[in-house]
Symmetry: C2
DNA sequence: CATGGGTATAGCCGTTGGCTATGATGCTAT
DNA sequence: ATAGCATCATAGCCAACGGCTATACCCATG
């Protein structure tokens, strides 16, 4: 059997994907600015680590084997996630002389902003972007203080001195582990019942928690546990101890493959729109305008929302 | 500004997540079986590469900074994707003396199986799993030939000598780049119109293409381009040249952040169920039974399907 | 104030991953 | 046919990187 946990490295994965795209190891080596033997070796090492033949070496280049096709698919997921991390971090780190400064609330910053930033940067001629992360109120404050030019918030409450434009939609969902009693529940949970259920919850002041409190609209029982990140909450929920209410964006993958299960609700509207906001009156700079464009297939987003949320 | 593209390595990302979980660098070092200074250095290097302070070093341990929280979140996505890659590859590589042998069609193998395998392996006492990837027909054949004990297919056509159980649902969607003319389309595309649209398509024989052909039920115009992986199709669609019909599983992320846009359809039913299948009559082995359990929050899956696909 | 957890620095050493040079292979064109 | 030209693999060299031990520092707590 292979080593405990093969010490994969990202460069090799990139290399594999590049070979798949370009059709030869040499071409991939050129693209990555390294010598052909190095590239060749990387792939060999990767194959050995995974215990799979990934490439069919032909004298006219190299093509993926069936296994290679699978692995490359998984590689791309990793690469995409890595790019999100890098792009996101760069935007967080951007400090001085940057041309476009934006702000975003937690959930948006974590799940949507990195790809937007990536898309945006790919366009030629666009300036680097600085990203500030804060809760919705702080984003609005920063906007007024002209510290940022464009904001993204999860709040329904946008004051009238700001303009808004919906860029995506989101809803909170009640999730539990598959072996939790509530997982088998067919009939929806009512608002009162939800209000009395002790949840694993994000910390006070988080957009997620605010939204829930507003939607319930009455006093709720105190959370069973408070944690300061979506990931921590998800882990706890997965362990089966408690339910939680989280953004669909945060749990989409888990719901898809069944690691978490959604519990139907009734009488609580947990849908929320995610909006771009900016100062009314000011004309948005070209860069900001373009950034909003990359973030916003507005029409389609509205359509998808309608489909996902059939209104009574 | 930071180096072109920081050469991140996965071990460091794992380390960061572990520090976040355990609350101290030392603890994380112990967990990873390396010395404390090495762990410390890794984090430092990572911080330098990203240009961010990630940890607040206090004398009672280390806690995440705000930036650290963000970065850790992104890290976990990378780690999860990596684990999927490793687990998937190991299941592909498993050769001899394995105890449980399963088969899956492409889409399931690529997007769902890795997490199932991961979950399953985490349970104590379960045997290693060998995964074979093939199209639905071949999975069924392998089942009959007793080469695999359990299969997962995307076909509606399951012969009567097999039993089936729905484990998830899926639908194909028509997607285009956000700047493609069809992206602004509000009123749904009809079946005939779809049949006449030249698409970027998976190769002949792929489950995705078969499903589409059956759903349309009449001759279609030939595909504009044929490509042999979902990723390749997605890239081409993203470039704006052609629309494509792909599994929702394959494009969920792109739809979420707007890199691709879904075009509404009408009069074509592209929903399909993803089923576990096994030989009628034979009692499933314990391991196979358990595996199916991890793959299947059936009730919830059905519920979610109902919500996502309002039947006329 | 000492103790003990935590973290950072210094300096050493083996492994790794890059490079160049070279050989083998098989398509392609003359 | 055969020469030419891609491709990929192997060999051997060297620098850089990542691990280790030893040690210093810092700060809570008893």
């Amino acid at each position: 059997m292979p080593a405990q946990r093969p010490a994969l490295d990202l460069e090799s994965l990139r290399m594999l994907a590049l070979v798949a795209d370009l059709g030869s190891i040499s071409a991939a080596a050129r693209a990555e600015q390294i010598s052909q033997p190095s590239a060749s070796k990387r792939i060999q090492v990767l194959e050995r680590q995974l215990g799979l033949e990934l490439l069919d070496r032909r004298s006219r280049g190299a093509t993926l084997t069936d296994h290679g096709r699978m692995v490359t698919g998984w590689c791309r997921t990793v690469i995409e996630a890595t790019d999100a991390l890098v792009t996101g971090s760069q935007a967080l780190a951007a400090r001085e002389a940057e041309q476009l400064s934006i702000g975003a609330s937690q959930t948006i910053a974590e799940y949507l902003a990195p790809t937007w930033l990536g898309e945006f940067r790919r366009r030629a001629g666009e300036p680097p972007v600085q990203l500030r992360v804060a809760n919705s109120q702080e984003v609005i404050a920063a906007l007024r203080a002209r510290e940022i030019e464009l904001g993204f918030v999860e709040t329904p409450q946008v004051p009238s001195d700001l303009r808004r434009r919906r860029v995506a939609s989101d809803r909170l969902v009640l999730v539990v582990a598959p072996d939790h009693p509530l997982a088998r529940r067919r009939q929806p949970l009512g608002r009162d019942e939800l209000a009395e259920t002790p949840l694993a919850s994000r910390e006070d002041g988080s957009g997620t928690r605010d939204t829930l409190r507003m939607a319930i609209g009455r006093p709720m029982v105190a959370p069973a546990v408070e944690l300061d990140s979506n990931a921590a909450v998800k882990v706890l929920v997965g362990s089966g101890s408690f339910p939680a209410v989280l953004s669909e964006l945060a749990v989409a993958n888990e719901l898809r493959d069944g690691r978490l299960v959604e519990v139907p609700l009734e009488g609580v509207d947990l849908a929320r729109s995610l909006d771009a906001v900016w100062r009314r009156g000011t004309r948005l700079g070209a860069a900001a305008e373009h950034f909003m464009q990359t973030a916003r297939p507005a029409r389609a987003a509205a359509h998808r929302a309608a489909r996902a949320e059939p209104r009574p």
